[in-house]
Symmetry: C2
Subunit: 138 residues, 2 copies
Amino acid sequence: MKQDILGKLEELGYRVTPQRAMIVAAINHSDDHISAEEIYAQVRAKYPHVNISTVYRTLETLKEIGLVTETDMGEGRVRYHPAGKGHHHHLVCQECGATIDLDETVLSNLKDALRREYGFLADLRHLAIFGHCVKCKQ
Amino acid sequence: MKQDILGKLEELGYRVTPQRAMIVAAINHSDDHISAEEIYAQVRAKYPHVNISTVYRTLETLKEIGLVTETDMGEGRVRYHPAGKGHHHHLVCQECGATIDLDETVLSNLKDALRREYGFLADLRHLAIFGHCVKCKQ
DNA sequence: TTTACTGCAAATCTTTTGCATCAAC
DNA sequence: GTTGATGCAAAAGATTTGCAGTAAA
């Protein structure tokens, strides 16, 4: 049961600052994927002095260590999610913006095929597939 | 045989300006996918007066009409490709940046499954899948 | 002639960076 | 006390926009 991001940070020799704790909390408590700006807003509500560059630097660190993953949902900005919290894929409707979550297993065939045929190890942890949802297909 | 982007533009009542002609030519003559900045550089070589905002506005128009498609290859900028010129998918290595092209048919199973099971009409025309290539897997 | 298109300059938006200060260990 | 982390301000890079002038139809 090691999805304790702060513990992991400490374990790896990173300093556990209040800013980092609040940034990690914001990511953990988000049901959905969360953007840097949203994290910043949440943290600033309790601790008005934080700077958004701290948010970006912390996210950079967490990505490097592999504690959070990044997904481009096609909004012109990236969203974050705790790596330990289960992966899923997203269907993003280009018409209405709806996002539908797919189970982690849905693309496992694809992943296997890519490895077998191309020797390519696909990172599908947070793939976003664009298209049109049932409603917007007309 | 209607992959004549300029003809289509005219047909739809858009004005065919020399700038648009050169932008379309740059996209058409690119083997690979091409970025706005690269289009701009090519056009400017012959016609130094163009402005990059014209490039962006033209690309916006061509996207709307469905004459070009956009792919995010994870470079922090988007790349363009004529919609009529055949689709393919990309495997992008996050280690060395290599991009491998997949045949259009590889993901057809996936597309069918998404339509069947989710009623989702996936636009896989230029999907980029990130991961690690044979060399970088170690 | 009409009005869509262009060039220009400035703005916007997200993310990054240099540097001096500060605080976690 | 060290050194990594932070805040601030400024930069960077891609893309967008307002506006007046220009040219395609």
